[in-house]
């Protein structure tokens, strides 16, 4: 890939990540700017500190905003914003990684 092609690929991921951050902040009424969330930030426990009730809200929000049902997915989907982006926009999906689960 050329540098311009790489930039375009990165921009597509950044755009999806930005949509997800905006959705999280809006749906969960978080007192932060969406841009303050980083793409690799943990969403649960340490990090954004979401909990299991927040997951339920996000399932609904993701289906409404991205048309993707994640109800049967494992928790690794919520490992980070960037990981979630792979699932709501499969064209972005990074190469498969080792799943210890």
């Amino acid at each position: 890939m050329t540098l311009d092609e790489l930039r375009a690929t990165a921009a597509a991921r950044h755009e999806t990540c930005a949509q997800i951050k905006k959705m999280i902040v809006s749906r969960l009424d978080l007192p932060i700017e969406p841009a303050w969330i980083t793409d690799d930030q943990p969403l649960f426990g340490r990090g954004l500190e979401l909990d299991s009730l927040d997951v339920l809200e996000l399932y609904v929000a993701i289906e409404a905003e991205f048309g993707v049902a994640l109800y049967d997915s494992d928790m690794s989907v919520f490992g980070s914003v960037s990981r979630l982006a792979d699932h709501v926009n499969p064209t972005l999906a990074a190469p498969a990684l080792v799943d210890q689960a």
Partner: protein, 357 residues
């Protein structure tokens, strides 16, 4: 200040390899790295956290002082909670990443490995007359238990009810008649617990814990931390690197009105970033920090830190790249090797699908 050494060093397994991490001598490995890693990711590992200094903040001004020196908000933190926060210098440089333990009569700060002297110096430089800064390291030993079945070890060793405490809980408890402080917190993404035990009982607890868990050294722990994108400050921070470049913006709270380094952090959040950090994997050789990242022969960034990941069976590390190229799913060249940028976590912890029963 004397370098830290483990109070249970004499009880470490024969053949333990030691190394110096900043101001501490730590066990780099107790046995084979693969076995220690497997304990963290598949079973339960015992960590000797003696390289982490325990600093007490007390006095009438303790809470205000903690609010000033910690980048996250601890104003309403109770004695039953702990949290991870950065400690910053005025210019926004990272002094340390600490675990803040709530206590009835103040707070305990647990430094990162080997960074305790620097942390103490920073705290004392900012403390007023209404605050006491006391190094409690010599009075305690700090052990960790991490792994998808670490909860079972907690049950067998101390008390099963402690295993299911909410994340980032702190409780006073007893082990074999000894007062301990117990926290549910960790760094590897697996179930994690810490026990602060009086030094005179430390060797006894260590020996007992060894009956249930495999000891894991600094190398295995730092590998597991990287795999879940848990920052290791000494590898990732550096001169001129702000918290956003480091990817640790989530360890500061800029909605807080005031803390040391806030102006620099606010400027970073509001400014145009020059670099961002993203993970990568690929190749068998582990590139050194500073190894150039190229596309078509043009340098676009460099390696921050890398190791060989046992979970991924390849090199794994962090790259610092221009923001418009800091994204997962890109094929880049590091040195002479093609690598792929990744989403985090790079290895999914087994604990995420392992219930506590």
């Amino acid at each position: 200040m004397e370098p830290l050494t483990s109070p249970v060093r004499s009880a470490h397994p024969e053949g333990t390899a030691y190394g110096t991490v900043l101001d501490a001598e730590v066990a780099l490995s107790f046995s084979a790295l693969d076995a220690e890693y497997e304990a963290i990711r598949e079973r339960a590992a015992l960590l000797d956290l003696s390289g982490e200094r325990i600093v007490e903040i007390s006095g009438s001004g303790a809470t205000d002082f903690a609010q000033k020196v910690l980048a996250r908000d601890v104003e309403y933190m109770t004695a039953e909670r702990c949290m991870t926060s950065l400690v910053l210098a005025e210019d926004g440089a990272v002094v340390d990443q600490v675990v803040v333990w709530g206590r009835e009569d103040g707070l305990l700060l647990e430094s990162s490995t080997g960074a305790g002297s620097r942390l103490l110096e920073h705290l004392r430089a900012h403390a007023g007359p209404d605050v006491e800064i006391t190094d409690r390291t010599a009075e305690h030993a700090l052990f960790g238990l991490e792994g998808p079945y670490a909860w079972g070890v907690v049950g067998r060793l101390i008390d099963g009810e402690l295993a299911a405490l909410p994340f980032e809980s702190v409780v006073d408890a007893q082990w074999d008649g000894v007062d301990i402080v117990f926290a549910r917190t960790g760094v590897t993404g697996e179930y994690g617990y810490k026990v602060l035990v009086p030094r005179e009982s430390a060797e006894r607890l260590w020996a007992k814990a060894l009956e249930h868990a495999v000891p894991a050294g600094q190398q295995a722990v730092e590998l597991a931390m990287l795999e879940v994108r848990q920052p290791v400050v000494r590898h990732e921070a550096g001169e001129g690197v702000d918290v956003l470049e480091m990817g640790a913006g989530w360890l500061v709270d800029i909605t807080k009105d005031e803390f040391v380094g806030r102006d620099a952090v606010v400027a970073a959040f509001g400014g145009k970033a020059e670099r961002r950090t993203v993970g990568f994997s690929g190749g068998d050789e582990v590139p050194a920090p500073g190894t150039p990242v190229t596309v078509g022969g043009e340098k676009i960034g460099e390696v921050v830190h890398a190791v060989r990941s046992i979970g991924l069976e390849s090199a794994l590390g962090l790259l610092r790249l221009p923001p418009d190229l800091a994204a997962a799913g890109l094929k880049l060249t590091v040195g002479d090797t093609e690598v792929t940028t990744l989403t985090s976590p790079y290895v999914t912890p087994k604990s995420w699908s392992t219930p506590i029963i």
